[in-house]
């Protein structure tokens, strides 16, 4: 039994061995942490105590061509409660009194937004400045209540420029997928539509970083001394080609109608002077928290205020694009400036169908220019049959229809320019007739265009066939003063010779100045106007009213394209409206006094 027994010396020795083993293990543990893993754990210890806080840059300001504000920033105050500093029975009732929220609701919001007991939990965003003043002056009344300021976007809503300004919102999951920019993260601000989206990268600037030392409980102890903050870089300012005066005029001109759009472009360089989608919406509501019911109201509005009509509204261009067919006919040699077709007697028979002219008493025989003047459908039907579906489609395509204008705004629609391939697919090979060409020749049928495309086409006509790419940003002003002026760019040339263009321009002149012109009422003594009316057939209701005007006719500086939905004839509704916009432009250009003087003279 005693063969395992250790002597005293043996036990003593074994004790030392045990001791040595214990110390070796502990020493090994220390070496592992303090030497082997030291670097890694030192980083973790730093990360523990340093909180990286973004320093938000000032978002770029957007002005019109004369430097007047379109989009700027305003301070927005958020009121918060620090849970650890809240005094029961004092903080909440007082806050409830101030904000007009009941205490249970405030409690619910505090609980929802609490990160740590020492960090403010936001209760209400965008409180009025008067409340901030009360919080500041009577801080003793509100123990544990703080507020902070952030910059939010303010859109000049009076301009009705939402169709190009767009709006901003919080970065969403989809935005995260769409962009690979590291500067975007959930909850930060991003441009959602329009300019704000297109130029987001320039407008947003670069976020800075502040390093703040915090305790385990989240107490903020102040800036971390060893790491200086990285300052933010403010966003670039944008100067647009928009003229606020003209923009206001456009919006006011649309004011009396239900729905419509106006686009005004300088044909000499493609500068977008004004653009309104009607009805509009207030982009400011997206800058703050948008109430659920308001959002629902906007979304379900039958007038679709969120539809960007100039860029995404798809309408049959109607008679406004008769010039494409006539130009094509001239180029192809089907017609000459003086040639005529069979007379218009108020319509024509084709196959088993009777195609009406809009003027039931008929236009008689007309030359090309007079066909434009009077917008004779029968002339166009006969021309369309000769050009055929593909002939028409070719010229529509060459005039910019069916493809985007590449205006520097996002999500533009290309419209639809149908050809025989399209019809084969849609109706089946040989399942459609040449009669479709008749529809297309007067801008009806499947043909769909945006107001912007129609305006672009007329810019080409006004500028000797040279189409400048429409654009909205004139100048980018970097935060440190460096300016980039965006030079106008030729987009394409209309497929028309000088002679053809002369005929078309003569037609446009006659529409206003001719004896039978469909927009005779726009004629005035101060400046010459040319244009074209259009009445788009709308199977769902009253016709859409089109007018595209340009002035002064000898050297056009402005092309205004307008469509008023469900308003009837182009000559009755859209034409006077465009006249009003052009008048606003010319008044500004010539000086109000001169016009007033002339009017007084005319009155006498």
């Amino acid at each position: 039994m005693d063969r395992f027994k250790l002597t005293l010396a043996g036990r003593e020795k074994l004790s030392y061995v045990t001791l040595a083993a214990v110390f070796l293990v502990l020493f090994g543990g220390l070496v592992r942490l303090q030497i082997v893993s030291h670097a890694e754990l030192a980083v973790q210890s730093e990360n523990n105590r340093i909180r990286v806080q973004p320093v938000f840059p000032r978002r770029g300001v957007v002005t019109d061509r004369e430097g007047r504000v379109i989009i700027e920033n305003r301070p927005s105050y958020t009121v918060s409660v620090v849970p650890a500093e809240e005094i029961a029975g004092v903080t909440l009732p007082e806050l409830s009194l101030l904000l007009g929220l009941d205490t249970t609701e405030i409690r619910r919001r505090i609980c929802k937004n609490t990160v740590s007991r020492y960090q403010p939990a936001s209760v209400k965003r965008d409180i009025p400045f008067e409340m901030v003043a009360i919080l500041e002056e009577q801080s003793d009344r509100f123990p544990g209540v703080t507020y902070h300021m952030e910059q939010v976007r303010r859109f000049n809503h009076d301009l009705g420029g939402e169709s190009f300004t767009g709006y901003v919102g919080e970065v969403s999951e989809e935005d995260m997928k769409r962009t690979d920019q590291v500067e975007y993260y959930l909850g930060s601000t991003i441009g959602k539509k329009g300019l704000e989206k297109q130029y987001d990268f320039l407008l947003r600037g670069r976020e800075g970083t502040a390093y703040i030392e915090v305790s385990a409980a989240g107490h903020i102890l102040g800036p971390y001394q060893e790491k200086p903050p990285v300052p933010s870089i403010p966003g670039a300012n944008l100067m647009l080609t928009i003229d606020n005066d003209l923009q206001t005029a456009c919006t006011q001109a649309l004011d009396t109608f239900c729905c419509g759009a106006v686009v005004a472009i300088d044909p000499r360089n493609g500068e977008l002077l004004a653009m309104t989608s009607w009805p509009g919406f207030d982009a400011n509501i997206f800058s703050s928290v948008i109430p659920e019911d308001l959002w629902e109201e906007i979304r379900s509005d039958s007038t679709h205020p969120l539809l960007n009509r100039p860029l995404n509204g798809l309408y049959p261009p109607a008679s406004t694009t008769k010039l494409v067919a006539i130009g094509g006919g001239l180029e192809e040699g089907i017609i000459t400036p003086n040639s005529v077709f069979k007379p218009c007697l108020g319509g024509m028979q084709f196959g088993n169908r009777y195609f009406r002219c809009w003027q039931s008493r008929g236009h008689g025989t007309t030359t090309a220019a007079h066909a434009i003047e009077q917008s004779c459908d029968v002339y166009l039907y006969q021309l369309g049959l000769k050009l055929g579906v593909d002939g028409l489609s070719k010229y529509y395509g060459l005039c910019g229809f069916g493809s985007i204008t590449e205006l520097d705004l996002p999500n533009e629609s290309p419209g639809l320019n149908p050809n025989s391939e399209y019809y084969d697919k849609r109706y089946g090979v040989n399942q459609w007739t040449r009669a479709l060409a008749m529809n297309n020749s007067i801008g009806q049928g499947e043909l769909l265009a945006t107001p912007l495309q129609v305006a672009q086409f007329f810019c080409g006509l006004a500028n000797d066939g040279v189409v400048y790419q429409p654009h909205i940003v004139k100048k980018i002003i970097q935060p440190f003063g460096e300016e980039t002026v965006l030079a106008p760019k030729v987009s394409f040339r209309l497929p028309f010779s000088e002679e053809t263009l002369d005929v078309l321009m003569e037609g446009l002149r006659l529409v206003v100045e001719g004896e039978h012109g469909t927009a005779r009422h726009l004629r005035n003594d101060l400046y010459s106007i040319g244009g074209k009316t259009g009445t788009a057939e709308n199977p769902h209701g009253e016709n859409h009213s089109w007018f595209v005007g340009m002035a002064p006719l000898d050297r056009p500086e402005i092309v205004v394209c307008a469509i008023i939905e469900n308003a009837g004839h182009g000559s009755d509704v859209a034409a006077p409206m465009v006249g009003q916009v052009i008048r606003a432009y010319m008044e500004k250009k010539l000086g109000l006094n001169q016009i007033a003087a002339t009017e007084t003279e005319a009155g006498e």
Partner: protein
């Protein structure tokens, strides 16, 4: 009684005193940035406790060691009464009944029980006529420890009750029981762990049986070993079910600290970050960010060693390890030369108590021992434990001074 003070083991005393003063300094640093002045006074109170502890130490040294021998069972009885009492009238703190509260002073009877049980076991083993390897000898000495251990487990305080078992094993070993037997006595614990997988357990039982057969240890001992192993293997699932949630969590967290970094694993992770970030030279007194910014939990008590590791680095930690090594080395030397069996066992038992808490506490801060709540001897904040450990030092020094006595 006047002693010949120059004959006292000053190296041992110096090491313990050094640790105590380092502890006071670390407590000062641990609470240096605390919000309330009350907390900042911790180190002053620790100094006061140290004064009390030194008085206790001096008292123990001046009393004849025989006194502890004679009154061993009396002390033991008193300890049992106190342990029972604390379960009934103790003041609950964090769900545990461990303390008597006398105004501002909290007294934990389990610390007193450590000395009392030590004396009782030492007295039994020193005077029993039973041979060393005898099942009756073991069977009588075990319950002396088992009773207080169970009462402490009931508080509940698993860590402290383990201290008693470790002390018992140390005394069995020092009184001559071969490590082979110790291993076999402990073998059911292996069964407890391996039983979670049937194959591992089968292999283990096979190896155990072969080992027993080869050693031919005697009938009774062989039967004990086999029965105990089978029994432990069978009750493992049941036992796991009986553990409190916090105990399960501690075990699981110990096995994988990353599984719950904000909860139970948080302490271990933060402690490792603190020690590791200290590197070789440390961040300097009052400059440990983990300590200063509250990331380190229980930093003046259980995790005081992490404060040391962070602020004084490997070098500081080595100094503390060295001082402990001095204490253990001296203790073994003294135990080996004492002529009295009782004195020798007292020294070994006292050293084993200090050693176990030392190992478990530092092992915990380094992340390879579970969180048990055992303070680091001499260094951690706490009055009763300070008095206890200085009393144990007193017993060792006293045994050394009177080494020639029988």
């Amino acid at each position: 009684m006047i002693l010949n003070y120059s004959s006292l083991d000053w190296k041992l005393i110096g090491a313990a005193l050094g640790l105590s003063l380092i502890g006071v300094m670390l407590i000062m640093s641990a609470q240096h940035h605390a919000d309330s002045i009350y907390k900042q006074e911790y180190y002053l109170r620790q100094l006061l406790w140290l004064a009390f502890a030194l008085i206790a130490f001096a008292t123990v040294v001046h009393l004849p060691l025989k006194l502890f021998d004679f009154s061993a069972y009396l002390l033991y009885g008193l300890a049992i009464v106190l342990l029972l009492l604390v379960l009934v009238v103790g003041t609950p703190r964090m769900g545990a009944y461990r303390w008597f509260s006398f105004g501002p002073i909290n007294f934990s009877p389990s610390d007193f029980a450590k000395i009392a049980v030590l004396c009782a076991v030492a007295r039994f083993l020193a005077y029993t006529k039973l041979p060393v390897v005898n099942i009756r000898r073991l069977a009588i000495s075990a319950p002396i420890v088992l009773l207080p251990a169970m009462l402490i487990l009931k508080q509940p305080d698993l860590g402290t009750s383990l201290v008693f078992f470790v002390m018992l094993f140390a005394l069995w070993f020092w009184s001559g029981l071969s490590p082979t037997y110790l291993i076999l006595i402990l073998s059911p614990m292996v069964s407890l762990i391996t039983a979670s997988h049937w194959l591992a357990w089968s292999i283990y039982i096979g190896v155990l049986l072969a080992f027993l057969f080869y050693l031919r240890l005697g009938m009774l001992f062989g039967i004990y070993t086999v029965v105990a192993n089978l029994a432990f293997g069978a009750i493992t699932p049941f036992l796991w079910g009986r553990l409190a949630d916090y105990q399960k969590l501690r075990i699981l967290t110990f096995l994988d600290p990353g599984r719950d970094p904000r909860g139970a694993g948080y302490q271990i992770i933060q402690s490792k970050i603190a020690i590791g970030s200290g590197g070789i030279f440390g961040k300097g007194l009052f400059h440990g960010s983990q300590t200063r910014l509250d990331f380190l939990p229980e930093r003046h008590t259980d995790f005081i060693f992490s404060v040391l590791g962070e602020e004084f680095g490997l070098i500081g930690a080595m100094v503390v390890l060295f001082l402990f090594a001095v204490i253990f080395y001296r203790a073994v030397r003294i135990a080996a030369r004492c002529r009295s069996r009782f004195a020798s066992l007292i020294v070994m038992g006292a050293a084993s108590i200090i050693m176990f808490q030392f190992l478990v506490n530092i092992g915990m801060t380094l992340g390879f021992m579970p969180v048990t709540g055992l303070p680091l001897p001499f260094v951690s904040y706490g009055g009763t434990s300070m008095v206890l450990f200085w009393s144990l030092i007193g017993l060792i020094v006293s045994a050394d001074y009177r080494w020639q006595d029988y």
